[in-house]
């Protein structure tokens, strides 16, 4: 070979060798030295964490399994304009189903980002009905996706709305939805694995790990028939007595399970957004969140405390001169009446403020307030409903807020604030032989794996002796029969007490309006139900005996019938073959 070409060949070989050396050095750097960096980079591009379809929120049922809160399906219509090929046709097809202008939809499907590229993602319709969503899916337009969404549905409408609360797509608020939100929430599962350029999982490896779990289902103590009767009676009472608002609670005295609970005014939980703007305070459940001065119905606490402490018995008498001095203040009977010699039973029958103050004075503040606290006043009952408040009890140790005269006024339910639930819990304690349990609304929980957790009654305190409770019950039966015949239920014996409370306003009490309450239980001698009726500012009469008491009687009669509860001295016939 000639000298020239041979030299050029050697030069080429040398250059190639150098080039290959550089390439090899670079390869070594990429593959060996920077291996970790590039491996991670590749992984980041290839592997994505994708949230799997959301399972449904746990449902809420009544004690018979009737659905009170369930899950409906809606769809979000979304699109990736970059992947839509025939935009005009797609827009026309979508317009016919979504009833939106085709031109608008075409504009959406042709929208571009700041760099002039077609957008990667747009939302066309945030929430459409199941039928519309399924029709869009059937169109099969490339680049248009139909994403299922859950929507909380309350099949019974506004029934038990305060108790149930409501739920948005993510969170539950108020009532059971709020209290048990963490439990009702489904468990989302994120899947990590290889995806394609459109972030769609590549079935390279089976999706492993746990399948998303639905939320825990709840079964309430609530009975929807009782609830309906309660709501119907409440509406009737509010209308008939021209009350501003009202609350009714029905409880089982042996378990403290709530069978029915309703307040007016109310709202539609499916339409919560409208009320959120107009009247958000409607969401709060007045049965647990609204405190009020209970009035004479509180005398059951005073009398039971005095009986249980052994200070008096039902026949102990005192002289009622129409007033009594407690802590430097005069306590008077309603309308300033004078009753002369009266027994402790008559303190309840005639609802004597002077008698109640006489009892609390005889007990002294330490003993009296001990019983008030033992009955659960001044602290939340612990019911499983969101937003419960503690009420307000001023204690002797609180020198700034408590005055010795409070001992007298508190004895007949003035200057003390309670919730309707606290009041019915106190009465249920009497009906339950003096044992206070924790009121509750959830009876059982059913997890997604089918495991069931049943409620067990939570004992709180033996507030008064069973003998005292039975003694007080007899007195309360007489109170209905002799003092408040409007609360009597035909064919049944019931116990109960009225409360007509003044409403505190700045500088004193409202001279006209009252809050009327009746709390009773029956039938005797083995009570099955405790019922509280509370009406705010009734205009037809300011007295509980003429408003809350007859409402109680009507409701109790219906409940005894609906639940098949015979009068105490009767037994159901057994059908034998």
């Amino acid at each position: 070979m000639a000298e020239g070409p041979q030299r050029r060949l050697r030069l080429l070989i040398a250059l190639l060798t150098v080039f290959l050396f550089v390439v090899n050095v670079q390869l070594f750097k990429v593959q060996i030295v920077d291996h970790e960096f590039y491996a991670r980079w590749a992984e980041e591009q290839r592997v994505r964490s994708i949230r799997m379809d959301q399972p449904p929120r746990g449902v809420i049922r009544d004690r018979d399994g009737c659905l009170l809160a369930g899950n409906g399906v809606r769809y979000a219509i979304e699109a990736a304009p970059v992947h839509v090929r025939y935009r005009q046709e797609a827009a026309e097809d979508l317009a016919s189903v979504l009833h939106m202008p085709a031109a608008y939809l075409e504009g959406q499907l042709s929208s571009r980002d700041d760099n002039g590229n077609y957008r990667q993602w747009i939302r066309i319709a945030p929430s459409v009905s199941r039928e519309v969503g399924e029709r869009v899916a059937e169109l099969g337009i490339g680049g248009v996706t139909v994403k299922p969404l859950w929507r909380r549905i309350y099949p019974e409408g506004a029934l038990a709305s305060h108790t149930l609360g409501f739920a948005t797509a993510e969170t539950g608020y108020y009532g059971v939805e709020g209290f048990y939100d963490a439990m009702l929430q489904p468990e989302p599962v994120e899947w990590e694995g290889p995806v394609d350029v459109e972030s769609v999982p590549v079935p390279w490896k089976p999706i492993s790990g746990e399948f998303p779990r639905r939320g825990v289902d709840l079964e309430l103590t609530l009975d929807r028939t009782v609830q309906m009767l309660v709501e119907e009676e409440l509406a009737r009472a509010v209308a008939a007595y021209q009350a501003e608002a009202g609350t009714i609670i029905v409880m089982e005295p042996d378990t403290f399970g709530i069978l029915g609970i309703a307040s007016l005014p109310t709202y539609d939980p499916e339409d919560y957004a409208r009320f959120a703007d107009q009247a958000p305070s409607l969401f709060e459940d007045p049965a647990v969140s609204k405190q009020y001065e209970p009035g004479s119905v509180f005398k059951i606490v005073t009398v039971s405390a005095a009986l249980d402490a052994g200070i008096v018995n039902p026949d102990t008498t005192y002289h009622d001169q129409g007033w009594i001095e407690v802590g430097g203040q005069a306590v008077r009977n309603a309308e300033g009446k004078v009753y002369g010699d009266q027994s402790v039973t008559e303190v309840l029958v005639e609802s004597l403020n002077v008698g109640a103050a006489w009892l609390s004075k005889a007990m002294g503040p330490e003993l009296f307030y001990q019983y008030v606290q033992d009955f659960g006043f001044g602290e939340p009952t612990g019911v499983d409903l969101a937003g419960e408040v503690a009420g307000q009890v001023r204690l002797p140790g609180d020198v700034e807020r408590w005055h010795p005269s409070n001992l007298g006024t508190n004895a007949f339910g003035q200057g003390i604030a309670v919730t309707p639930l606290q009041m019915i819990t106190a009465m249920a304690t009497v009906a339950n032989d003096g044992a206070r349990l924790r009121p509750h609304i959830v009876d059982r929980r059913i997890a997604s794996d089918g495991s069931v957790s049943d409620f067990h009654a939570v004992f709180q305190e033996q507030v008064i002796a069973p003998e005292t409770a039975r003694m007080l019950t007899d007195m309360l039966v007489r109170t209905v029969e002799e003092g408040t015949p409007q609360a009597q239920v035909e064919g049944y014996r019931v116990a109960g007490k009225t409360g007509t409370a003044q409403i505190p306003i700045p500088g004193g009490y409202d001279p006209e309006d009252t809050i009327t309450t009746f709390v009773g239980f029956g039938p005797m001698p083995d009570p099955k139900l405790v019922v509280l009726v509370k009406l705010e500012r009734p205009q037809s009469s300011q007295w509980a005996s003429k408003t809350a008491a007859p409402s109680f009687a009507r409701l109790a009669a219906q409940l005894f019938t609906a639940l098949g509860i015979p009068a105490g001295d009767q037994m159901l016939a057994e059908v034998t073959p």
Binding site: M52, D53, P55, G70, G157, L159, F560, T561, G564, L572
Partner: protein
């Protein structure tokens, strides 16, 4: 003569490209084993991918059935809501029971 003999026996002579048979067999075995492993691996991967796809489809189906189930439960609850039942009962002429007589059983 010599040239023609050499030409004739040329084909049976060990040529410079001719290999020893043992390494060839060894190489063939290795290649065969590698091919077998590759084929098995490919089969496994494709089977895994197919299973992954199937699982994905089943999961989609489960979600769809779950949605249908939930919606159905709600639909049933709506038509059997107590307000609906009451309305229907009243339309059929039923009235609320007012006084129930319980039969007294002697001991």
């Amino acid at each position: 003569m010599f040239d023609s003999l050499e030409w004739a026996t040329h084909g049976v002579k060990r040529g410079w490209l001719e290999l020893d048979s043992r390494p060839v067999v060894l190489l063939s075995v290795i290649l065969g084993a590698l091919t077998l492993v590759a084929a098995l691996y490919l089969g496994l991967v494709s089977r895994t991918a197919a299973q992954g796809r199937r699982i994905e489809q089943l999961q989609t189906e489960i979600f769809a059935l779950q949605r249908a189930n939930e919606q159905l439960a709600v639909d049933i609850a709506e038509v059997s809501a107590i307000s609906q039942l009451t309305e229907r009962a009243r339309a059929l002429g039923f009235v609320p029971a007012e006084q129930v007589e319980f039969m007294v059983v002697s001991d």
